[in-house]
Symmetry: D2
Subunit: 308 residues, 4 copies
């Protein structure tokens, strides 16, 4: 089995290898310039802050289907411990274990490879157990703060959420962009809402993951044409799952992360943001979505906040 | 042994229990209003972003002296795994274990208790191994994004870093505020720079922790008078360590977290920010410092970013 | 709600507090004397070794119903790493995270408390997050190696496995003892087979845990009368679950661990041993079941082996 | 850099690839037959049990020098939690994270590779982050219980412990064997005592690891000639460290694990056993040293017990 010619055709069109130099590890995050940030800040009107992360808890979105990607295990190592003697100030301390891609997260560019390569043409073998990703680890992104644009595909279509088999197409993105009344531009972080996370919030974890609406293999070209900095959505797999084409698994991951070098976010809770944007009749905002700088990591939990 | 009368005197003066209702779990973060955020955004000039987190790595600031507070252990659970068969897209996944207070972090209000109480007068016994903090866990803070003000105590004094035995006093804060040319006001997040983190960055972990400059027991009143939302600095212990008064351990923690209900941040790397502020001749900025919403946790790693 | 008088009546009859001194932390393991071990060794005939542990894997018996008790997460930190340079010997290293009671395990005597007390009348509050169990942690047991006796209740009754609602009674134990042709005596480690683990081995985790056959609240007196050193079986909960008496949860745990001070084992795979004993027509053997000495822990994985 | 011809010469002489078939994953553990076990049991005289594991604690032997190999982190997830309501039986549960080779442990045969191969000529690449070791994981050993023989090199030489630079040679083993008054034979598990663990027990962790006495590159032939089943000792590195020959790192690991397929144990505390054997004037005993069956793991903690 190998990737089909159609995949390689798209790959060629969205490829950014070398665009920011052979040393680059950040890909499309290079689009976030000081000017982009100034314009992002200028979008703030009310000062309302909408957090987009799911709570980090053991009863999170993971079901055990993805090996090793465990929900957060929160444990205590001190509870009201008067470490300096009785009657003194007492401390509580905790420790956690979890998969970096388990909850609301960013994929690092190294999260996937294909044909033995990661972003910028580096060998996939530069990811090892000893130190993780030598290149493009999540600690190399720099600050992720820019203008955010909500493309509320579900609301634009007048539905609560897209059905499981719905591949979000470029035409869907156009429709949502028009509904938003905003033009996506270079350096934007685009949030694509399908409404799928409602399934998890309602308690049905397996159905949240499968079948799921998600981005079509045709969308990377749409993002590439606009020089988007990053894309996140409210699904487990980011792209439609099961995939659009038989035996072509995770093509969007390969195109976004490997070819374009564009950060992807998953399991973002966009429900409150959808409401807030609809009420404000504005779909652009300041977005802060800072990766935790785990050295060599292929992903990170993130606690994004939209400021309207 | 018990806490001295002087401690209880200060405690009475800075106490905020009931100020935002008996149900409140957020303390001084209530000072961050929409208006505060709008004004914070208005501080942005250049769009320059300065990240303030230390890398999350096994060779972090912890030395093993604090039981259970381990530096991040980063492990791989998938490396370029072609989970859907040979020749397909390959995935890398990682997992981590670490102490929530191990690196650049926020203490939740429940991180310490004294006299059997946490913030807002709740019993300390509401922190358990089963679920962690029932109240004021780090997942209850809401977004932490406001105006940041750097009080660069070291630079204001014309030194690279304060000596180990230096307790940062209200007078030092006044001096740094005047140096900054900005008036600290309600809802601000104040970053106090001592320069101590240089010791860690130079490789001497034990000396970074001890002896360390840090905030004096007299500073909580200074922050309380200004209705500051949160305070962070560039030391391991936040307050001067060993303490100013014999046998009075962690009094600042008890006053800030328990009495005032004010979030504290530690191990923030303020070196690049110090330079950037000096170059811009501005010490106020937009600060995003979102907690990761670990449910019931008494702390969280944080990847703060200052936008100048 | 409180424990009923019937419970306290039994508790009084099986109580061993003070029996081995007020300092004792080991309870009925004190029954394992040198003489017991010599006699245990004398039971070996063929030299056949039968291991009794389930594999330690992420797809283990835990379903997430018991908070925090996670199946083993196995991760790699080095894979064929030539740490001393290319062309040298290469190393692979791994790390794990798991609940100590997650798989085939021993409960330490401190695993449960009732009425504020643990074994030997010590306060339950001696178990803290800071260091775990101050007394009777699993590291205090000393070697657990003695004569093992299989009481094959299922086989004695001529069934593959006991039904979910079956409480194993003293009469069942008598019957199995007679079937075994061996007299249980002081210092023995008794393995009670229900066959329930077949349900897990067949892939139905929820049904393995609930409803499950298990020991009746009447069995502690049976073990107490014989001065048994420890008891293990092939179920998730050890005792019948849901319990025999409404609202009386985990009474056998409280009687065995707290009152008698008798080690309990769960999730032991007794299937191969059942066959081996039947074929050998012998149900006594040498049993080695060494706890891993996690300091202050309330349980431990164990890899028991029966030598026939 | 590559392995020198001398290494390959020894490798050829001790190689066991194919000896137990091309499917074999257990190597020299195949020497432990039922007859071996019967004879092991026959060594028991007094019934005295001597445990050989170090306590599993955060303050263990690791210093951070070996990346990812962390000492056990013990945490609580339940403390006296009355999960079925107030006044009921209360439960305490714990979780741990640690490196499998961190404390008293067995190396699995896959723990090292050289020239791209593991034991029995399989590709080293069969160890992956996805599932760990496909072959010869520690879960494949079967029971490890046999006759143990203490070769007390330090005591035979009349010293408390060997100096740091001492490579234990075949001649040293001969001397200790004669001192023991026992002939090492097929299926034995040999414990080689240097006394080095005293350095750790006295509190000097760095000096425990470096410089350390340990087995010479000439010893694998000695063990091979006797068809020993496994070897363990009381050092961090097993073999002398730094190594005997410049730039030839871990040659004994490569010879024992890869070429012979012989299990190695490290950090075994042989101090009490040394005393017990001297007092009993016997150096052979029953040894139970069961691996915890972590699936695909390259090592395991072990709690060995010698029965004299």
């Amino acid at each position: 089995m190998s990737l089909p010619p159609e995949f390689h055709d798209i790959a060629k069109r969205v490829n950014n290898w070398g665009r920011w130099g052979s040393d680059d590890e950040r890909g499309t995050l290079n689009h976030i310039t000081d000017a982009v940030v100034r314009e992002a800040v200028a979008e703030v009107r009310s000062g309302l802050r909408v957090p987009l992360a799911l709570p980090l808890r053991q009863d999170g979105v993971q079901t055990g289907v993805i090996p090793g990607r465990i929900n957060p295990l929160h444990t205590m190592v001190q509870i009201n411990q008067e470490i300096f003697g009785p009657g003194t100030v007492a401390c509580s301390d905790d420790a956690v274990t979890f998969g970096l891609q388990a909850a609301t997260h960013w994929d690092a560019l190294t999260h996937v490879s294909h044909s033995g390569r990661i972003y910028n043409g580096r060998p996939a073998a530069t990811v090892t157990a000893h130190g993780g990703a030598e290149f493009s680890g999540i600690d190399t992104t720099g600050p992720v703060l820019a203008r955010g644009v909500l493309l509320d595909v579900a609301r634009a279509k007048g539905v609560d959420r897209l059905p499981g088999g719905h591949a979000v197409t470029p035409e869907d993105l156009d429709e949502a962009e028009e509904f938003a009344g905003v033009t996506v531009r270079a350096g934007d972080i685009v949030l694509v809402r399908t409404g799928q996370i409602q399934v998890y919030l309602a308690g049905d974890k397996p159905a949240y993951g499968y079948p799921s609406p998600g981005l079509s293999v045709r969308t990377p070209e749409w993002f590439h044409a606009r020089d988007v900095a990053a894309v996140a959505n409210d699904t487990l797999t980011f792209e439609i799952f099961p995939p659009e084409f038989e035996e072509l698994w995770l093509p969007v991951h390969a195109l976004d992360l490997v070819e374009m070098g564009m950060l992807q976010g998953q399991n973002w809770n966009l429900e409150a943001l959808s409401t807030a944007c609809a009420e404000a009749a504005r779909h652009a905002f300041l977005l802060s979505a800072m990766p935790e700088p785990f050295v060599g990591a292929t992903g990170t939990p993130v606690a994004p906040v939209a400021v309207l």
